[in-house]
C-alpha cells in the first residue's frame, strides 16, 4: 500500500508535482498515467525517498521509504533501464544489489531466469539493447521478492513478446497480493494491464478511478456518418436535419460526421427523410486512448507543430527543375483538436441538455466553422 498525501515538488519556479494525494492498493495493478513531463518519474522518485518532497509526504505500508525496516525486501523498483554501470556484467550488477540487500546470491540466478537473461548474464550490460536493459531492471526490482513493486515505463523498448510478458508478469504479481504501481504514457498498454488508474497532468491529479469507470466517465459512443460523394451541401443538409432531430454533430477532418445522441436506425431514417445517401454509418466507441487524450490534452507540456520549413525553401526551385512539383501539404493531424473528440457523457455536458432548435443548430454550425469548442 502506497499512500501519498499532498505531495508537492518544486524545482525552482517549476512545479513538477502539485498537491498529489492518492493510494495504491495491494492486489491490483495500478496504472500511473500522464503525458511526458507530467511528474510521473518525480513522484516515483519521491516514493523511493530519492527526492525530498517540497511539502506533503508519501509512505509505503505506513512508513516513509527511507525509514522502512527492510526496504529492499519490501519494495522493488525499476526506475530507469539505463541506470546500470555499463562495464559490469548483468550478473555482477544483480549480485552487488543482492549483497547490499542481504539477499542470498542464489536468488540472482533465479531472477535472471525469470527475465530470460541467463544466457547473457556474464556479458557487460553496455552492449544490451533497451529491451534487455528493461529486463535487467525488472530483474533488479524482483530481486528482493518484495511486496510493493514500482515500474517506471517498463515496456519501453520491449518487443511485442516482451510487452506481453511484462503485462502478464504485472498481473501475476498483483494476483499474488502485491502492490504493483506501473507508470506509462501509453494508455493502450495500461488499458490491457491495469485495474486501476491514476492519471496526472502537469503534476496534478486528473483522475483516480477504476479502468472501467474511467472509460465510462470519459468517453461516449458515437456514430460515424459519411455522406455519398462527400458533397458539402448534402453534409450541411444532413447536419441540420440531425441536429433538429436532437443529435449532436461534429465534423471530422476527412469530411465524415460524428453523431452522438441518436441511435443508428434513427440516423438512417433522418438521412432517408432528408434524401441524403450515406456511404458510411458505423458505430464507434471512444477508446481509452481517446478518453485519456481528451483528458490530458490541455496539460500536454511538449506539443509538436508541423514542420513547415518556412523561410528555408529556395524560391527559385519553382522556376526550374520540378514543374509539376507541389510542396507536400501538411497532413491532416491524427490527433484532432478539441471538438473532434467524442463529447463527455450525459451529465457532464451542459449543451447536451439544451433544446436543439434551428437557432441552436445554426449557432452550432458557426461555432463549428470557427473550430471553436462547441461545448
Amino acid at each position: 500500500m502506497i499512500e501519498a498525501v499532498g505531495l508537492t515538488k518544486r524545482y525552482g519556479a517549476k512545479t513538477a508535482v502539485s498537491n498529489l494525494s492518492f493510494q495504491v492498493r495491494p492486489g491490483t495493478v495500478t496504472g500511473f498515467l500522464g503525458p511526458n513531463g507530467s511528474g510521473k518519474s518525480t513522484t516515483m522518485r519521491m516514493i523511493l525517498g530519492l527526492d525530498q518532497p517540497t511539502s506533503g509526504h508519501v509512505t509505503i505500508g505506513g512508513h516513509p521509504f527511507r525509514s522502512l525496516p527492510n526496504a529492499p525486501r519490501q519494495v522493488g523498483a525499476l526506475l530507469d533501464a539505463k541506470a546500470v554501470h555499463g562495464g559490469r556484467s548483468a550478473r555482477n550488477h544483480l549480485l552487488s544489489l543482492a549483497q547490499l540487500a542481504g539477499i542470498p546470491a542464489a536468488r540472482v540466478d533465479e531472477v535472471l531466469g525469470v527475465v530470460g537473461l541467463q544466457d547473457v548474464a556474464r556479458k557487460r550490460s553496455k552492449g544490451f539493447s533497451l529491451g534487455m536493459g528493461q529486463r535487467l531492471g525488472i530483474a533488479a526490482a524482483l530481486l528482493g521478492d518484495p511486496q510493493v513493486l514500482l515500474f517506471d515505463e517498463p515496456v519501453n523498448g520491449l518487443d511485442p513478446e516482451g510487452i506481453l510478458w511484462v503485462r502478464n508478469l504485472m498481473k501475476m504479481l498483483a494476483s499474488e497480493g502485491r502492490t504493483v504501481f506501473v507508470s506509462s504514457h501509453l494508455m493502450s498498454e495500461m488499458a490491457l494491464t491495469a485495474d486501476h488508474l491514476i492519471v496526472i497532468g502537469r503534476g496534478q491529479l486528473l483522475a483516480d478511478m477504476n479502468v472501467k469507470e474511467f472509460i465510462s466517465a470519459n468517453s461516449a459512443d458515437f456514430a460515424r456518418v459519411r455522406v455519398a460523394d462527400g458533397l458539402a451541401e448534402r453534409r450541411e443538409k444532413l447536419t441540420t436535419s440531425l441536429t433538429e432531430a436532437g443529435g449532436r454533430v461534429m465534423s471530422e477532418p476527412d469530411g465524415a460526421l460524428r453523431v452522438t445522441g441518436l441511435p443508428l436506425p434513427r440516423i438512417s431514417e433522418v438521412a432517408h427523410e432528408s434524401d441524403v445517401r450515406l456511404w458510411e454509418l458505423s458505430p464507434h466507441q471512444a477508446s481509452l486512448e481517446e478518453a485519456y487524450m481528451r483528458m490530458t490534452q490541455s496539460v500536454v507540456d511538449y506539443r509538436s507543430t508541423a514542420d513547415q520549413k518556412a523561410g528555408l525553401q529556395q524560391p527559385a526551385a519553382h522556376g526550374h527543375g520540378q514543374p509539376g512539383y507541389e510542396p507536400p501539404q501538411p497532413p491532416v493531424p491524427q490527433v484532432p483538436q478539441q471538438n473532434w473528440y467524442a463529447p463527455p457523457p450525459p451529465g457532464q455536458n451542459p449543451s447536451a441538455a439544451a433544446p436543439a432548435g434551428p437557432a441552436a443548430a445554426t449557432a452550432d454550425l458557426t461555432k463549428r466553422d470557427t473550430s471553436e469548442d462547441a461545448r
Binding site: G27, L79, S175, L192
Partner: protein
C-alpha cells in the same frame, strides 16, 4: 444522450472485460518465502567489493599505479647506480617518492570513480533503492576503497623500498623510516584517495572531481613557485610546506621546505581534511535529491 445501439458496441466493450475482471482476491498482502534478514554494513561492504572488482576501470587505474610505482622506482635505482652518484644525506627510501606522487593520480581517479561513476550512470538511484541508508552506502564504499588502495600501495612501496635498499649503497634506514615509507605512504595515499571519493560524492561528476583533485595536489606548489612578491613570502612558505607533494615527502624525511610538517604529521593533516570532507559528503548525500 443516448448511445447508438449497435451489435459491435457490446463486443467492443466486452473485449477488454476479461482482462479487467477482478483477480481472485488474494488472501492478504504478499509475504516472500525467502527468509528476511536485516542487511548490515557487512552486506554493503560485500556489495561494494563486488562492484569495485567487476569494472575494468579499477583494474586499469590500479594496474597503472603499480606499473608507475615499480617502474619509476626501478628507473631511479638504475639512474643512481649508473652514475654511481653519492646520495649524500638524502635517505635512500625517498627515491620512491616520484613514483608515489604519480601513482597518487591513479588513486585519485579510482577514488572519484568509485562514487561519481554511479552518478554518471544513474546506478546511484538503484543502489539507494536497494539500501536507503546513505551512511551505510558511503561508509562501505570508503572502507572497501581505502583498504584496497592501502594494501596495494603499501605492498608496492615496500617492494620498491626493498629493491632500492638492496641495490644502492647508503646508510641503512631505521625501522621508523621503513614504517613511514611503506605503511605511512600507503595510509597517506589511501587517505588522499578517500578525499577524492568525498569530492566525487560532493561534485557528482567524474571529470570535474578528478580535475579538482589534481588541482588540489599540484596547484599549491605551482602557485608558490610564482609568488615572488616579498609580502607574500609567508603564504608562499605555507603553500610549500603544506602542499600535498611536500607533505608526502615529509613521510620520507625529505621535505621540500625545511620547516613544516615532518614525520607522521602529514598523515594526521590529511586524515583531518579527509574526515571533514567525508562528513560534508555524507550530509549532502543525505539531504540532496539523487
Amino acid at each position: 444522450m443516448t448511445t447508438p445501439p449497435t451489435p459491435q458496441a457490446p463486443s467492443q466493450r466486452q473485449a477488454p472485460a476479461p482482462q479487467h475482471s477482478p483477480q481472485t482476491a488474494p488472501a492478504g498482502p504478499y509475504t516472500s518465502p525467502i527468509p528476511v534478514r536485516r542487511a548490515t554494513l557487512g552486506d554493503a561492504i560485500a556489495s561494494e567489493w563486488t562492484k569495485i572488482r567487476s569494472v575494468r576501470s579499477t583494474m586499469w587505474t590500479l594496474g597503472v599505479m603499480i606499473v608507475l610505482l615499480l617502474g619509476i622506482g626501478l628507473l631511479a635505482t638504475l639512474a643512481v647506480n649508473t652514475v654511481d652518484s653519492d646520495l649524500g644525506s638524502t635517505p635512500v627510501l625517498s627515491l620512491g617518492f616520484f613514483g608515489v606522487l604519480l601513482g597518487s593520480i591513479c588513486v585519485i581517479t579510482l577514488g572519484v570513480m568509485t562514487i561519481a561513476s554511479e552518478y554518471g550512470t544513474g546506478m546511484i538511484r538503484t543502489t539507494l533503492t536497494a539500501c536507503p541508508s546513505r551512511a551505510r552506502v558511503l561508509g562501505a564504499k570508503a572502507i572497501v576503497f581505502f583498504l584496497l588502495t592501502f594494501v596495494i600501495t603499501t605492498v608496492t612501496t615496500a617492494l620498491v623500498a626493498v629493491m632500492q635498499t638492496a641495490f644502492i649503497e647508503s646508510a641503512a634506514p631505521s625501522g621508523g623510516d621503513w614504517l613511514r615509507a611503506t605503511v605511512g605512504v600507503g595510509l597517506y595515499t589511501a587517505t588522499l584517495g578517500l578525499l577524492a571519493l568525498a569530492v566525487g560524492a560532493l561534485i557528482r561528476h567524474s571529470a570535474g572531481a578528478i580535475t579538482i583533485m589534481i588541482g588540489v595536489v599540484l596547484l599549491p606548489l605551482v602557485l608558490a613557485m610564482f609568488m615572488f612578491a616579498e609580502s607574500l613570502s609567508d603564504l608562499r612558505l605555507a603553500l610549500f610546506q603544506y602542499s600535498i607533494p611536500s607533505q608526502l615527502s615529509a613521510l620520507y624525511s625529505t621535505s621540500v621546505a625545511d620547516s613544516g610538517p615532518s614525520g607522521w604529521d602529514s598523515l594526521w593533516i590529511m586524515l583531518g581534511v579527509t574526515a571533514v570532507a567525508m562528513i560534508c559528503a555524507f550530509v549532502t548525500l543525505d539531504r540532496r535529491d539523487v
